[in-house]
Amino acid sequence: MNSTPFNAWKLVSLSPLSPWTLGLLGALLAAGVLLAAIGLQREPELRRRIVLWGLRIGAGVAAAFFLFEPGVRNLQVAHVKNRIAVLVDRSASMNFPAVPGGKSRLSEVADYLESVSSQLSALQDRFTIEYYGFDPELAPITPQTLRSQAARGPRTDLLSALRSVKSGEQSTASKKLSGVLLFSDGADNADLAAGVAGRGRAALVDYQVPVSTFVVGSQGLKDLAVEQIKVDDFAFVRNSIAVEVEIRGRGFKGQTVPVVLRREGQTVASKSIQLASDDEVHTVSFNISPDQTGRFVYTASVPVFPQEVVIENNTRSFALKVIRDRVRVLLVVGRPSWDERFLRGLLRQDANVDLVSFYILRTLSSEPQVMSDRELSLIPFPMEEIFDAKLDTFDVVIFQNFGYTDPSLSVALYEKNLERYVHNGGGFLMIGGDHAFGEGRSNFPVLGQAMPVEPAGRPATVDSFKPRLTPEGLRHPVTSFSQGAANTEQAWSTLPAIPGANLTRVKPGATVLLDHPFQTLDGKNAPVLALWEYGRGRAMALTVDSSWYWAFASHVSGSPSRLYDRFWGNALRWLVRDPDLTTLTVTADPPSVEPGKPIGVVVAARTPDYQPAAEAEVRVELFSVKAQRSVATQRSTTGPDGMSRLEFPPPEPGAYKILAWANKGEKSLGEGEDAVAVRAVGPELSDASVRADILEQIARATGGKAYALAQGSLPEIPLLDPPVVEVGRSKDEPIWDRWYYLITLVALLGTEWLLRRRFGYI
């Protein structure tokens, strides 16, 4: 039994009726009183009116007591203290000096808390004072821990910290919060990074606890930072893309600052800016045209000047994925032919191909029988334009039965350009005919270096034949039409024979996918389709001029065949290094990593017939572009889906290549490459500024006040008062349950009736 006496009470209704019923009956009572008032309006005698209306009101009150059953609830309550939270920002930016050359911002807070400890203690008769640091997780602190443990939080999230402290998850008692004292430099890089607005502001207004803010640090620091880089996630190869670099300079008024953009160590652009004020954000725009597909790490940097508070934020890296746009194909045709006609028809109908073509429609020996060239639709062969000025704009160059020594048609002057084009990453395809591979007048001593075959010096064979798939051709994505070697072989067997081929010799290192079934050279079957990688580019040779038979003659009967389309589609995709045609893909996930975070890598391995390579051994190297060496190696085995995920421990900031190799047993599944940027500083350290404006706005939105940190002085802080009351025990005592309430009601009603009767109302 609790012997503690009740120390509080309150009036309550003890009626068992529902609120709706009580409301209805209360309305009826009010109506009764109102009707009495209306009915008495014609009574000329004021005294009668007052008496009758007073009796009705008195009866109504008595009836209300009868209905609502008022009672007294005796309470036993205890007064508890509310909380005041002292919240200290422990993000890494609090390690910056509070003033140039001074103590860290965090030490300043520790000193301040010690200097006002007695004033805070004075509040403890009404409040419990709790001390927390956030980095961004909330944890108890003392001034001593603030000094002994450096700030290390990777980001500043003021709103999250305020929410956590209000929820009381860290508090030992479930006490309500009366106020928050927030110590921070205000450099929020989460919800309030752009200022207190929108949802952030709404959350603060709903906070309903005054937050008093104390700004820590000053704006006098010198710092130059690559604050932000705005660039799309991907770019199209050989297309211009804008890179906007935001440089923030503090304390560098009048300083000229060179800004350099590098791609994996190589400078691709640079500009100089001049800072006009002591706190200025300057945007530098670069337009770059990546010349290769793949993912590359770009780094924007500014020099490090003396007395800079942070030097790590003078560089910033990003990874840019360069993909191909529509495949831009240059088709140079030595002479109109059916082979050209069907290839053109295919390329023109392919929405992914941007075809530019030049045909030799008239040679020196042609006699068009015209009075003037205006009667012809011919244009000069713009060799200089296509083989010099614009050669690099093409993804693939196709020479189809093209080879002239006539001065007006010879490309001898541009052979070196073409060879360099292939070497530097272009795709080149030579298709056979009577002007190709040494036949007719074709002769390409320089360009021929890039080709996987060389002329045999023998006349072309004119016997019909069906090209034979080599073992490599069975698996290669150019000639592999179906899943499984047997299906591919069967598909090729349905194609009609073609008449004749140029005779060539395959070069060492080249891969033959199709060969002649009975025409041999040096004891080997003559190549029909051969390819190789030349420098960073790819070259292919098809030594026939009748692949159109696969498109047209194959349709003599049976269902429509798309093998011709697929063959040429595959060939183009291989020439442009379509990522889907590699057996091993490696992807950095994500492509840009904050400092201190591990690098995730996803490897997908496929067998040569493009099935998932389960249980393949994968080796991945993290290659530092700066050091030009491998800095870490990981090994793993792929799962049933041919996938494997690896993780590298956080490396030093910089640009890295991820190189991957995979083997299934003794057989190589190829190699892959990707790039990843490890940032030198995260958002926390990229900006040393003090955001007093954010702290002021927080204080204003929550009903608190904003203060500067003044040692030894604790200002008058807005706090919620009074403290909360908690109920321990209660007991209800009815006060309506008395006989005289009923007698009074009856007496009032009875008196009113009697008087009304006497006055002539009844």
Binding site: G334, R335, P336, S337, W338, D339, R341, F342, R344, G345, R348, Q349, L355, V356, S357, F358, Y359, I360, L361, R362, T363, L364, S365, S366, E367, P368, Q369, V370, R374, E375, L376, S377, L378, I379, N401, D406, D434, H435, G440, R441, T461, V462, D463, S464, I498, P499, G500, N502, V544, D545, S546, W548, Y549, A551, F552, A553, H555, V556, S557, P560
Partner: protein
């Protein structure tokens, strides 16, 4: 006294000799232009010499290599699929084609073949014209013949033309049956090949009216343009050609 043949001309001729001495040919003629002629139940072979002459002119005037002798095949022949250019001409009624011929011709045109149809009798609503339209409606029922606009690339594939002359000029426009963006059938009612035909003595077999020999030349040019279209499709519609062609059209 002036030299009738200049020294420079002789030197140029000598220098050019190697160009002709090593003239090469495609393997097995597969890449060369060889006109195929459709055999049918009517009179189909009245313009064979004209086709030969056209092929000869094509080789002489352009870089195209040809085999001048036309190859005649029934419309049901699978051999048609080795010859993407087909000439279908006739005088008088075109007898109904068999189901096999219709099916084979439909496949031929659908999968890339090109057909030049020519009313050798210059008929309009009768004779060959009536039969041809009837059979085309069976071959490609969803792709009716339509007038070929003068802006079509056929009028600029090699020669700049603005008319569709044949032996006669009964109908000023050609007609076309398109499959997608490709003209699969071109139809002339002016006996185009009649302007090319030669007799056994080597003379042109028919008078050309009303334009005489200039009209014959235009008929050759149109024939060459049609062949060039069959070989190069819309090459001359490429953006790179447009400024120059528009300039020449002015």
């Amino acid at each position: 006294m002036s030299d009738p043949i200049g020294r420079r001309a002789i030197l140029r001729a000598i220098a050019a000799l190697p160009l002709f001495a090593r003239r090469a040919f495609a393997f097995g003629d597969s890449a060369r232009f060889i006109p195929a002629v459709a055999q049918h139940g009517g009179r189909w072979d009245g313009r064979l010499s004209g086709l030969r002459r056209l092929a000869w002119e094509l080789q002489r005037r352009t870089s195209v290599e040809v085999v001048p002798d036309a190859r005649a095949f029934p419309l049901s022949s699978p051999k048609l699929f080795e010859y993407p250019f087909l000439y279908l001409g006739g005088e008088g009624d075109l007898p109904p084609l068999s189901a096999a011929e219709i099916e084979n011709l439909r496949r031929y045109l659908t999968f890339g073949g090109f057909m030049l149809a020519d009313a050798n009798d210059v008929s309009n609503g009768t004779g060959f014209d009536r039969g041809f339209r009837r059979e085309m409606a069976r071959v490609l029922p969803r792709n009716p013949l339509a007038l070929l606009p003068s802006s079509h690339v056929i009028f600029k594939t090699y020669f700049m033309l603005d008319s569709a002359a044949g032996r006669l000029l009964n109908r000023p426009q050609l007609e076309v049956c398109s499959l997608g963006r490709r003209a699969a059938v071109i139809y002339s009612q002016n006996d185009l090949a009649g302007a090319w035909n030669r007799d056994e003595g080597g003379d042109y077999e028919f008078e050309v009216s009303p334009g005489g020999e200039p009209q014959r030349e235009l008929a050759f040019r149109l024939g060459i343009n049609v062949c060039m279209y069959a070989l190069c499709l819309d090459y001359k519609d490429d953006a790179v050609h447009l400024p120059l062609i528009m300039n020449k059209r002015r």
